[in-house]
Amino acid sequence: MIRNFFVIAWRNITKNKIFSFINIAGLGIGMACTIMIFLWVQYEKSWNKTQKNYDQVFEGFSTRNFNGELSTGSDLMFPLPKAAKENFPEVEGSTLVSYGENTLFTVNDKKIKRPTIHVTNDFFDVFTYEFIHGDESAIKEPNGIVVTESTARALFNNTDVIGKIVELNRYRSVTIRAVVKDVPPSSTLLFDAIVPFDASSDWVKQSLTDWVNCNNRAFFKVKKGTSIASLEQKLLTLIKKSSPAENPTTRGGLLLQPMSKWRLYEEFRNGKNTGGRIQYVNLFSWIAIIILIIACVNFMNLSTARSEKRAREVGIRKTLGSEKKQLLLQFICESILVSMLAFLLAAALIYTGLPFFNRLLNQQISIPYQSPVFWLGILGIIILTGIIAGSYPAFYLSAMKPVKVLKGSFLPGKQALLPRRILVTAQFAVSIVLISATIIIYQQIRHVQNRDLGYDTNNLIMVNATGDMGKNYEIMRNSLLQSGMIEAVNTTSLPVSNIFGFTSGVRWAGAPEDPNLIIGFLGSGEHFADIMKARMLDGRDFKKGDSNCVILNKEAIRVMKLKNPVGSTINWAGRERRITGIVDDLIMTSPYALPIPLMLAYDPNWIGSLNIRIKRGVEVKKALQLIETIYKKYNTEYPFEYTFADTAFNEKFANEKLIGNLAFIFASLAIFICCLGLFGLVSFSIERRTKEIGIRKILGASVQSLLALMSKEFLLLVFISFAIAIPFAWWLMNTWLSNFSYRIDIGIGIFFFVGIITLLICLITVGLNAFKTATANPVKSLRTE
């Protein structure tokens, strides 16, 4: 019986080519979207899963009050992990890990930079890796390091490198004690080498008892079944007890984030974990499913629209003794067959589309051919799609009464007209929401990109530098300026593309009793406003010969409530400092956020970044060559590494751009599938009206009036879906925009634009079909009757 069903299904599919093409193309695209999105979701959820203590490892987060706003960060104090393990038996292991840095490895003549993490020597109590040579004891030695396979190969061309000596950043000599397999890219801790903190350095010696400054991440491996809430309390109590005085951390809260949430729940707001990437993962999962459903709706609509033909078959089969459930089964078999064919198309689309998708997401998602769960999932999608697409037509068709349909005068396509209209309206409503969302996302990105940052990112390059540069800085600066290609040169303590340092230690006469006043700081040499092309609102820029000077930005003056600031003094880090100037707000952190208060401290020897502005009109490549030559001349030790300020700034849009691109792709696919369905419906409707159109033509109807006649019905539906979609799109995108402090307002213009686009697309779809009929010779169409 099933065989008979598949035979007739196959013959129907091959006989109605347009109908089958529309269904298979729509479902295939929908399935490809769904499968790719689910592969992505699976990949996102697989982060850190290679860790053996996956269920037991937690990262500490502190919530602090920053000028009235709660801000949660993973930076914690050096002694915390060790003290936690000593004091609380439920802490089985703990470690302190740096945020990761690029470290220069030198072996003889070979110099390479690799990302590393610095860790305390209990690191492997918490994290697990696959060792090729050596073992976990490697970092117990003060200068023993662990490198990955690829680092070993890059340095020595093989992995058998135990005992080899390497110099780090030209000052610390270490020995390779173990080699591990490369870390999968889906890991929170990414590194090419693990280096123990340098126990002999002053910084580490001081840090061992420093319970105030927080510069590293703390991880805890917790006994199974431990109450995390009570451990959080205990840790906070420990911090309070150990800190010499109250500070934002002791006044704040402490939170332990399980490893399973590191990747997808990375966002904190007002001290609470509010989600993060998971929202986009969920959103796009839904969008993929919706696209598949849009395709299923095509199948439903076309099946019921052309049911005239199938209704007769149902009638005949019923008179031959078929029960309703056998007919249901038959139609479901048929839609499952379509769904299987659609999967073949989807497979081809995934195969060709995955590299593109990976590039877009900047990830390495692969197809898990080996995984039975994957194939079960595929099978599930095929069957589910078949059932969803086929169930409504199956119920609709199998309910046909033989007496009615066998009479011949009956037009079942006319029935189910309302459900079909509702479905088409819903399809278009979804597409309109997606199109509006895409446009609004792009507008927001462009709006932020065009934001007045208070400085100029163009032609500004930031060269990595160390304190040593101070010695040769003047000569370098002069030779750069003399070349005529360079407009300005300056040094800062860190790259100017972000603010990493914050302090609550600024004091001044008449300071309000606000324990939560936090100000960002950056060390700078002379000509700061010059190099940044920042606007001085009052006072002057740093100049040579200054000492103990600071420049504050507008926001800092506002939060500090300073009157007549220029010339007055503040105290910070043990020194009196004079305010020489006020600079306009600079957007150096998130481009979506409000400006943050910033203090620039003059210090020509505090050098982390050499900032160079190339003259307008100078060829960048030539300028770079010049800079490199001069840099190498005075800095033989350190490789030449630079970043463009505008590139660094643009990276801050990566996430939003990705969302914009994904939204664009899905919106296009959704509208394409909708149009396929519309095309099918129009052609059936025209097929039925061929005779009517022929007669109208003979009676003198114009082509335009015939086109209007045929498109009227569908255009009305598009108008209705527009009216439904707009309020929803408005609400949805307003919610999204509320994530950003600096954002656009949604104008009505966008929706007009979307409306016109949708209308045009529909007109073209209908027109493609209707034009042929409207211009055909009426005599022909009448003769075939």
Binding site: M1, N4, V7, I8, R11, N12, K15, R312, E313, G315, I316, R317, K318, T319, L320, G321, S322, E323, Q326, K401, P402, V403, L406, G408
Partner: protein, 222 residues
């Protein structure tokens, strides 16, 4: 076999009630061969459909083999239908996407007959109707008479006790019609199949053992 008592059939068009069948009382016994005649629109098809359980009377009672058809549940009625009734239509109503062989085989699928038995039964009937050579053709490749032969083969392959035919020869020329009528007579005489046919032709009606005249939804004479 069939007892119809006070059968009425009406349809509501707006506030009007239009009667299609009015007070039909009819008894047909096993092995009978009945021809129903009457002008177009007199309710012949409606009556046939009611007998064939494809349609329900608005009022009245219908006993089939002493069973009250209208007291049965949907499922039991389908079962009763499946076991006893075969239909032949004026428009043949073959399934276009199936070959002759597959069309004839289809009712056997719904009767849950084994593959090997199906093959034998279909081969048998193809042979009996002299259409073995056409078994792999699609309906559109056959003439009207041949299509109707397939339609009849399909209707009788499950050996129904009652064969209902609504103007089976309406679309055929007279020699083709005669062939079909001969076939009916043979079925009735040799297999004892009860046959009820609707026809416009006096000649074909004469193949029946009795003739029922319908006029305006009423039986005129027996």
């Amino acid at each position: 076999m069939i007892q119809l008592q006070n059968i009425f059939k009406w349809i509501n068009t707006g506030s009007n009630r239009v009667f299609i069948l009015k007070d039909i009382n009819l008894e047909i016994s096993k092995g009978d061969f009945v021809s129903i005649m009457g002008p177009s629109g007199s309710g012949k098809s409606t009556l046939l459909n009611i007998i064939g359980m494809l349609d329900q009377a608005s009022e009245g009672s219908y006993l089939f083999n002493q069973t009250d058809v209208y007291a049965l549940k949907e499922k039991q009625r389908s079962q009763l239908y499946k076991e006893n009734i075969g239909f032949v239509f004026q428009a043949y109503h073959l399934i276009d996407e199936l070959t002759v062989y597959e069309n004839i085989e289809t009712p056997l699928l719904y009767h849950n007959i084994k593959q090997s038995d199906r093959q034998a039964m279909v081969a048998d009937i193809l042979d009996q109707f002299n259409i073995v050579g056409k078994k792999d053709l699609f309906p559109s490749q056959l003439s009207g008479g041949q299509q109707q032969l397939v339609g009849i083969a399909r209707a009788i392959i499950t050996k129904p006790t009652l064969l209902l035919a609504d103007e089976p020869t309406g679309n055929l020329n007279s020699s083709q019609g005669e062939e079909i009528m001969e076939l009916f007579r043979k079925l009735n005489e040799e297999n004892g199949t009860t046959i009820i046919q609707v026809t416009h032709s006096e000649k074909n009606a004469a193949y029946g053992k009795r003739i029922i005249e319908l006029l305006d939804g009423r039986i005129e004479k027996k």
